[in-house]
Symmetry: C3
């Protein structure tokens, strides 16, 4: 009789072009929106107020874009990264139609590339994952690569196949939801600064810090039905090099996004992630701070009411960001850095 419990896929189980339809479709509700606020303290008006959202022509407040990220990526874990050593990178990360309470998300993935490590203990798996709603409209599409353990180091695997991924998402490829900036209320949104007010090179300290508790990151990670064991099992964690549970990296992304409200309040939509890395691990008890740099500004085709800001947000732990801790002359991150994220924000123009 076949063992019913699933130990997850190991590196040698993946084949080029292999397709996965991930389990447990999820209907998101108003409760996910409220928990997103409770877990991260997000204050972006478009995600908080139906009245604000309707003034933009939306049917009601859409979910925080990063909540969609967490739910989509969470569904892929059981098939793709249950035996991951590390989450190596993200590329071509693009949000599609907005997601509203009542929508049901399903996720599928395709293996884009495979490369065994020279020590033969593990290998890198590239997958493209696509999240869709109940009308099969894409809500998020991205490439992620992870290092995955081999079950058997001696297992023979195929020749390496490393996919090319774009260094960044082109502004013309950003999906702008159907909405109008005519009714955009800056005062309700919490900032007088629009796209024109930002300049490349500008740096913003988001000031506040939030201490992460084990209970918080487990609540969020379970909410996304993400089953990566390192986040939940303190007993097994004692025997790892960290000697404890590791917080889900996405929790830190959402904390940094919520902190970034102070300085980027009108950045009402995360439209794409160009790249990002979890520079250091975070644990219960760490206090997260963040700062951002404006990397680039772009106009959008056929939209003179919305512009795009390419932003790099760096989050740190136990280190306020008034000194803008970035990479040193040696190309290495500041020791307090835990996240380095390069993304496109949409913002109203004047």
């Amino acid at each position: 009789m076949k063992a019913k419990a699933d130990a997850g896929n190991f590196f040698e189980d993946f084949k080029f072009g292999q397709a996965f339809r991930h389990a447990t479709p999820r209907t998101l509700t108003e409760a996910d929106a409220a928990l997103n606020i409770a877990l991260y303290g997000s204050r972006f008006a478009v995600n908080s107020s139906d009245v604000f959202a309707r003034a933009l022509g939306l049917p009601r407040a859409p979910f925080d874009d990063l909540l969609v990220f967490h739910v989509v990526i969470g569904k892929t874990v059981n098939d793709i990264s249950l035996n991951a050593v590390a989450n190596l990178g993200y590329a071509e990360f693009r949000w599609g139609v907005p997601v509203f309470p009542g929508d049901t998300l399903s996720v599928s993935s395709t293996v884009l590339g495979l490369r065994e490590n020279s020590n033969r203990q593990s290998g890198v798996v590239w997958v493209r994952s696509v999240g869709v709603n109940q009308r099969a409209e894409t809500v998020l599409d991205y490439v992620r690569w992870v290092m995955v353990h081999k079950r058997d180091p001696a297992a023979e695997v195929g020749a390496p196949l490393v996919p090319r991924t774009a260094a960044s998402v082109a502004p013309a490829d950003l999906v702008v939801p159907k909405l109008s900036m005519m009714g955009y209320d800056d005062e309700a949104a919490g900032s007088p600064y629009r796209w024109e007010d930002y300049a490349p090179g500008e740096r913003i300290d988001h000031v506040s810090g939030v201490t992460l508790e084990d209970s918080d990151h487990m609540l969020s990670t379970r909410l996304y039905q993400n089953t990566a064991r390192v986040h939940f099992d303190a007993h097994a964690g004692r025997n790892t090099r960290f000697v404890r549970r590791l917080a889900y990296g996405g929790h830190v992304i959402s904390l940094a996004r919520a902190l970034s409200f102070n300085g980027l309040a009108n950045g009402f939509r995360v439209a794409a992630i160009n790249g990002g890395s979890h520079v250091g691990p975070t644990f219960g008890g760490d206090t997260i701070y963040a700062w951002s740099e404006i990397l680039e500004k772009a106009v959008l085709p056929q939209r003179n009411d919305i512009g795009a800001l390419r932003v790099r947000t760096i989050a740190t732990k136990d280190h306020p960001c008034g000194d803008f801790p970035g990479k040193g002359g040696d190309g290495k991150h500041h020791p307090a850095a835990v996240l380095d994220l390069d993304y496109w924000l949409l913002m109203p123009r004047r």
Copy 2:
């Protein structure tokens, strides 16, 4: 003037046949479903996706059966077990109609039996409790017995009356909700294994562990409006034999159910509990693991699309279950065991 605050009932306050209509009816909403996922990490598709549930002919995703358990039992605490020494057992536990967001649950109980302990400090109270929705349809019906302190050891009480309870719920008595397996999607549900694929005696290690935090079990226990003080008061807890708060036993049941997804993903409904015991106490910081044994298989009257599996799930703390820790030759549980639950699961047939 009569004291307004309630100290709960003591053993001598209960009378045979006494009826309670418990306080605080509760309208359950989508938020209870989301919190159930956030608190336990449950991944059963029928409770997670309206699209999946509608394909079975349900109006939308029903609540997790154990959430219904928690809400119903929570309402009985203030009248029945506020002064309990221990929760001794469950029997004839049978779920009725499914519960959906918007339903309002009310609970009543009747005293079925009473027996003073020989030390006269306490006694055992048997109650039958019934939870109903706003249409007076039964959602859950069960017998529970608890040991309750006497206010005054010298108080005279009546002759013992011990009710008979069934050793198990007969398969023919299980309530099968109105639904069809025609649209059951195994891939979305996360498992290729149906009723036919399981055999009595089969054992399944559910692999993962989840560390319980005090904040988590208090959130859930309050959500169910369960007022048992031992779960909330660390100050008073310092003077107990455990020197701290005790987690609500139902929290561990839900964690074990969520863990059991890995191996029993198509067990879409808990239809009955035959018996169960909280073998050991659990506290914040404990890591819960679980394994299951298939005890029995049963066909259901007039249903060839759904079968019943009688399952025994044992949860442990700080002890992974790859060695299937059960009762030893001496009839005693493994020292790591915290829960031993015998229940009926419904599962689609081929």
Copy 3:
């Protein structure tokens, strides 16, 4: 280029008569009601059951009055009290129309008074704040005064202007929602005691205690989009006189209200706060207890079905309230006291 991140207003930034329209309108949903139960364990039937609420003529269960308080006050923090030294007092606190899931709250404030402290390091700011729903109906109106740091002690400020505030809200000014007590179900509500059963001077020990966790108070405070840094940043907290994070005082108010169910279960609506003070700080790990004294009873104009009870609730930490710990002969609070709140409750009459 102007710094985009907001450091909040300092004492010298406030002007008499200055008006603020606070950021981030918020649509409250069923999830806020469920989280209110999960965070505090509230059991008041009118806020828990749509069936119970409809029997009173309400469209469905309204939100807990204190949840409305938290959301309204939370929105004012960023403009008013981000640089506060202390929250000094509340007055003329009056609830208006009930708030239901789907309502969107917005908040504005006006500066009523200003007085620099003699040391010139800080000053007291009085504001009147008004929360309204999407139909511009008032849901809460109050005066709060806070001590706020000066950015520059040498900054010149205007002459002191100290507003008069009422010592209490007159019973005739209490807003009674449109509802009828005809269908009020005492048994479902959990208490046989109505307005007639209480007498001035009566004291009620609410018995139970609840231990506050850092994770809990941060979840609630973020849910209200309250950005006061002292509640979230354990890293910065290490360098304060408390050496840690401070729990949001409103969290303790809601815990005390939930505990007060045991003795005041039919006090179905908090109609006004006459005054209150956070007598001592609370931290993760503290166990909160509460007791109440009936200060006064009042009939309401043109309502013979509802009466008002003026109640004083005192909450303590790590000290059960069976000894009714109040102010000593020296006028000082008991050392365990953390909250002293004077408010009007509405309760059905016979």
